[in-house]
C-alpha cells in the first residue's frame, strides 16, 4: 500500500500536533493558522485534551475576561504551550518581530512584538514556528530582540523555547548549551541543505532522523473537522492551503 500523499502544510500541522499530545492547555496567538490547526488536531485525536484557546476565535476559546486573560493565565502556569514566529530567529533562540536594521531607523518594519516579550518567559513549552527556512530568517544574531531565548540564572523564567519547526526540519533547543540541535529533517532535505540555508551553527546527532509523514487519521482530520474549525479564524489560509473534503 502506498503512503498517503500530503502537503507541506499538512506535514507541519502534524509535526506540531505531536508536540502537544498529553498537554493540558494550549494557547494560540495572532497570525498562527498552522499552530492553530495543530492544536485543534491534537485535541481532536485525543478526545478533548488539550484544551485549546485560539485568539479571536469564538468557538475555540475559553476566555471570558478579555484580552488580558491569556497573559494572566500564562503567568499562573495555566498554559502549557504557545507559539512564536519571527522575522528573524537566531541560534540562541532570540526572536525578532520588530524589524531589520538599527532601531528605530529600520530598513524593514515588521508588525511588532505582540505578547512575545512576556509569554516566552512564562509558557513552559514555546514552539518557534517559521515556515521560511533561509539565511534571511535563520540568522546568526537578530537585529532586535523582541524576546530572548534564554535568561541569566536567578531571573524568574519558567518558560522558554522547546523546538523550532520550519519547512525543512525540526530543531530541539538545549537551554544549557543555548543551542539548537537538529532533531529531524523533512522529506527532500539533507543535513547539507539545512546547513546551507541556516545562518547559525547548530548541533547534529550522529544519525539524522527523517520526519515521519502524517498518519492517515491525521490527514483525514486536517481535511475535515480541523480544517473547518480553523477556517473560522483563518478563512484565507483554509481556502488556499487545506483541501477540505
Amino acid at each position: 500500500m502506498n503512503a498517503p500523499k500530503y502537503t507541506k502544510t499538512e506535514l507541519l500541522i502534524e509535526v506540531i500536533a505531536r508536540m502537544l499530545d498529553g498537554l493540558n492547555h494550549v494557547a494560540v496567538g495572532a497570525s498562527s493558522p498552522i499552530p492553530g490547526a495543530a492544536a485543534l488536531l491534537a485535541r481532536a485525536r485525543s478526545g478533548g485534551t488539550p484544551r485549546v484557546s485560539v485568539l479571536s476565535s469564538l468557538r475555540h476559546n475559553d476566555f471570558t475576561d478579555g484580552a488580558r486573560e491569556l497573559f494572566d493565565c500564562a503567568a499562573q502556569g495555566r498554559i502549557d504551550a504557545f507559539f512564536l514566529g519571527g522575522g528573524q530567529i537566531d541560534g540562541e533562540a532570540n526572536v525578532n518581530l520588530v524589524g531589520l536594521g538599527d532601531y528605530p531607523k529600520l530598513n524593514v518594519r515588521f508588525a511588532g512584538s505582540y505578547g512575545s516579550a512576556y509569554l516566552y518567559f512564562l509558557v513552559p513549552r514555546v514552539i518557534l514556528f517559521r515556515p521560511e527556512h533561509s539565511r534571511r530568517v535563520m540568522v546568526s544574531k537578530v537585529d532586535f530582540i523582541s524576546a530572548p531565548g534564554t535568561s541569566p540564572p536567578g531571573l524568574y523564567r519558567p518558560g522558554g523555547p522547546y523546538a523550532l519547526v520550519t519547512e525543512r526540519c525540526i530543531f530541539s533547543f538545549n537551554k544549557e548549551a543555548c543551542r539548537f540541535c537538529l532533531q529531524s529533517i523533512h522529506e527532500g532535505e539533507t543535513v547539507e541543505s539545512i546547513r546551507k540555508n541556516t545562518g547559525f551553527d547548530f548541533d547534529c546527532p550522529p544519525q539524522t532522523l527523517q520526519t515521519p509523514p502524517p498518519s492517515a487519521t491525521a490527514l483525514e482530520l486536517i481535511r475535515g473537522d480541523v480544517g473547518i474549525n480553523i477556517a473560522e479564524v483563518y478563512p484565507k489560509f483554509a481556502r488556499e492551503f487545506l483541501s477540505l473534503s
Binding site: 478579555g66 518594519r109 508588525a111 516579550a117 512576556y118 523582541s146 524576546a147
Partner: protein, 270 residues
C-alpha cells in the same frame, strides 16, 4: 436625546469630542472596533493623536496614520492579519513620520489595569532581556520588595483621554453591552471617558437582567454614545456580521501607495 448625563449624538459630534493631541485607546480588529467613528475622525481632520492599541491594531490604525491624524502609535503590533503588513503604518514608521512606542500585549493591559485601580504603576513578569527594555525609557527594572534578588519590571499607568469602541447595543439608560469583550471594560475604566458607537439603542434596562448586566459597561464610564448601524464595517461584530473580507483585501492592495490610499479615503467617505 440624552440618558442622564450620557448624551446620544451624531457620529460627527462624537468624533468632535476627540480633541487634537488626545490619547485614545482602541481595541484589536476582532473586538468591536469603531470604524464609522474612525472615518468621522478622519473627516474632521483630527491631528496629533496618540493611539494606544489594546493591545494591537489593524486597518483602524492604518487609516488614521495614513490620513495624517497620528503622531504617536503605542502598540504591541499593527498588522492586517491574514492580509499581511499594514502598509500605511509600515511606511510611516520607516520614514519616521510617526513616533512608534513599541510595546508588548500584557504591558498595555497592565498599564491600563494600573489606571483602573488608580495606581501609578504595575509590575509585570517577563520583559527583562528584551530590547523593548532598552528602547522604553519609561519601563523600569525593579526588585520584588518581598523577595530579595527577584528582579521584576514596573510599568507606568496608561491613562488615555478616551476609550473609543463599538458595541452591539446600549440600553435606554446608556449602559453598554459588550459580552465577553472585557478588554473594552478595562479600557473604559482606565480612560478619562469612553466614546461608544452602537449598532442600536434598545428600549430595555440591561441592569434588570443578570445575564446582560454581567457583560456590560455601566453608563457612569460613558461620555457619549452615537448610533451607528454597521459601525464596525469593514470589520465585523461577533454574532451580528462578519468582516467584509473582500473590502479588506481591496484595502490591503490599494493602501500600498499614496494615491491608492487617497482614492480609498475619497471613496469611503473619510
Amino acid at each position: 436625546m440624552a440618558f442622564g448625563k450620557t448624551p446620544v449624538e451624531s457620529i460627527d459630534a462624537l468624533a468632535a469630542r476627540v480633541h487634537d493631541g488626545a490619547m485614545i485607546a482602541v481595541p484589536p480588529d476582532y473586538s468591536f472596533v469603531a470604524m464609522a467613528a474612525t472615518r468621522a475622525l478622519i473627516r474632521r481632520g483630527a491631528r496629533d493623536l496618540h493611539i494606544l492599541a489594546v493591545p494591537q491594531s489593524g486597518i483602524q490604525a492604518d487609516l488614521l496614520i495614513g490620513a495624517g491624524c497620528v503622531t504617536i502609535m503605542e502598540t504591541a503590533a499593527v498588522s492586517l492579519g491574514e492580509l499581511g503588513a499594514a502598509p500605511q503604518f509600515t511606511a510611516a514608521v520607516k520614514s519616521s513620520r510617526i513616533e512608534i512606542r513599541d510595546s508588548t500585549c500584557p504591558a498595555i493591559h497592565a498599564g491600563l489595569q494600573a489606571s483602573e485601580k488608580g495606581l501609578p504603576f504595575m509590575p509585570l513578569r517577563g520583559l527583562i532581556g528584551s530590547d523593548l527594555m532598552r528602547i522604553r525609557g519609561d519601563w523600569k527594572e525593579s526588585e520584588n520588595p518581598f523577595e530579595e534578588g527577584d528582579r521584576i519590571v514596573v510599568l507606568p499607568a496608561l491613562k488615555p483621554d478616551f476609550a473609543l469602541f463599538h458595541s452591539p447595543f446600549a440600553d435606554r439608560n446608556g449602559n453598554i453591552w459588550l459580552g465577553r469583550r472585557r478588554e473594552l471594560v478595562t479600557m473604559a475604566h482606565a480612560a478619562k471617558g469612553a466614546l461608544v458607537t452602537v449598532e442600536e439603542i434598545r428600549d430595555i434596562d440591561i441592569m434588570e437582567d443578570e445575564a446582560l448586566a454581567g457583560g456590560s459597561l455601566p453608563a457612569l464610564y460613558v461620555t457619549a454614545i452615537a448610533e451607528a448601524p454597521k459601525g464596525a464595517w469593514p470589520l465585523g461584530v461577533a454574532g451580528q456580521y462578519e468582516p467584509d473580507r473582500e473590502h479588506l483585501a481591496n484595502y490591503a492592495k490599494k493602501a500600498t501607495d499614496a494615491d491608492g490610499f487617497q482614492d480609498y479615503l475619497a471613496e469611503h467617505g473619510a
